[in-house]
Amino acid sequence: MEAIKRKKRKEKIVEIIFLICASVAVLSVLAITFFVFYNGLAPFVTNSYPLWNFLSGVEWRPDSNLYGIFYMIVGSVFATFGAILIGVPIAILTAVFISEMASSRIGKAIRFAVELLAGIPSVLYGIFGLGIIVPYVLKISPFAQGESLLATIFVLAIMILPTVVSIAETSIAAVPKEYREGSYALGASKVQTIFRVVLPAGRSGIMTGVILGIGRAIGETMAVMLVCGNPIAGIPTSIFSQIRPLTTNIALEMGYASGVHQQLLYSTGVILFIFIMIINFTVNKLVKQKVGS
């Protein structure tokens, strides 16, 4: 009797340990959210800086007490959009090549390279961008610097490849082989089968990959910081303009900022957070749709 009780208690304790471990992630999310929002919303609640000026301003001059992030939002969105525009087609075609065309040896080699790409620290992407891409952009740029929206787009396009490729590949592989057989049996070629049957059938999974890629691009900091130019003012007017994304704004100044300046860096984080939350909700919705259909 006593032995059974002891055993039960032991089970209970182990269960609690598991629960504690599982709570770490949940608590972290809650803590970070609370921390960022608490600090980030403070300047607007206490009216030490007007929300509208913060959201619509196009200058960030802490010395003159000007904290406008509109041009950063625009920069972040443009950079992300550009990276998706270039990176997604490359990633999807790579995924198609790996899963539908390449021999298993070549497929493995490419997959290995893509996985390696995912593991490279982002600062190294930044260095690569600064050393290779920025000088090239400088050559074709009408301005006197290579750090630009364009350079940022290139770096981000490469950085989202692993995310999009691996998720797209998984969803292409999940397309039932019966669809492919049906298509071939009707006299469709390989390319027709891929573009008319396989990719549409894997659409929702591929979209999930794309959205995660957007999340990756919009949240990237270190690599972007080295190639974007980080100007203190101005909406980008061309792809050669410098940009200052939301992420780098925080990273550049958080180390020494204080007072309202520091709080408004948290506010920048709040905006970033909202973007990421929208992206995550979209992913959840897409994944649910996939299960539903």
Partner: protein, 252 residues
């Protein structure tokens, strides 16, 4: 009456890696007849069927020896496999409509061959559905997803999709094994009306089905054709003891 020979295989061997799945198959399949392949699971009948439109190309490690003559041309020789598949259509065991509308499912094959004209496509879609005895059931929802149809309807859609290519031969790989008896009866009716226009080759697990619909029957066992003859002879007076054992249900 001497019918034209559509398919003629000579000493056909097929290997999956080292495993020999088909052993020296010699068979002449007549035009506009229904030929049934019967035999226990794993006897090679589906494998043989898939040789006839080269679907085995999609599987790694398959080697084929011998000849498969289609209208007297070797289909493993210097031919266009896409052209072959437009002439030799296939219906699969599990209904496999594409995840798109009913209309698009039928228009898929012709569109892949470059047909673009909307009225031409509309006519073809209707004709194919009528021939597949599905038109009345789906005419009001052509733009709805094909996945919303019942299993039997999906299979008739797949047949309609195949008919839309106007092939000479339709291969059917156990087309009713995933369907209930009523849907099966509908498909069997459909097959007997289709044999006027098409050569039909069907793999089936159901002896009754082979008996009901086919003109000729081939009995496969362990990768060999044990017996190939007029269906009534196979079922009433087989030459080989093994055929008799199988059709009387003593094994398989």
């Amino acid at each position: 009456m001497d019918k034209k020979i559509k398919f003629n295989t000579k000493n056909l061997d097929l290997f999956y890696g080292d495993f020999q799945a088909l052993k020296s198959i010699n068979m002449e399949i007549g035009e506009k007849e229904v030929t049934a392949f019967i035999g226990p699971s794993g006897c090679g009948k589906s494998t043989f069927l898939r040789c006839l439109n080269r679907m085995n190309d999609l599987i790694d490690g398959v080697t084929i020896k011998g000849e498969i003559l289609f209208d007297e041309k070797d289909i493993n020789g210097d031919i266009d496999v896409i052209n072959l598949r437009t002439r030799v259509g296939m219906v699969f065991q599990k209904p496999n409509p594409f995840p798109m509308s009913i209309y698009e499912n039928i228009a898929y094959g012709p569109k892949c061959q470059g047909m673009k004209d909307k009225t031409q496509l509309d006519t073809l879609v209707k004709e194919s559905l009528v021939k597949a005895a599905l038109w009345e059931e789906v005419k009001d929802r052509l733009n709805k997803s094909a996945l919303g149809l019942s299993g039997g309807q999906q299979q008739r859609l797949c047949i309609a999709r195949t008919i839309a290519m106007n092939p000479e031969v339709i291969l059917m790989d156990e087309p009713t094994s995933a369907l209930d008896p009523i849907a099966t009866a509908k498909i069997e009716d459909l097959m007997s009306s289709l044999k006027k226009d098409f050569t039909i080759i069907i793999v089936t697990h159901s002896m009754q089905q082979a008996g009901r619909i086919s003109d000729k029957t081939a009995f496969f066992l362990m990768g060999e054709v044990i017996e190939f003859n007029e269906t009534p002879i196979i079922f009433t007076n087989p030459n080989d003891k093994r055929t008799e054992d199988y059709i009387t249900g003593r094994f398989g």
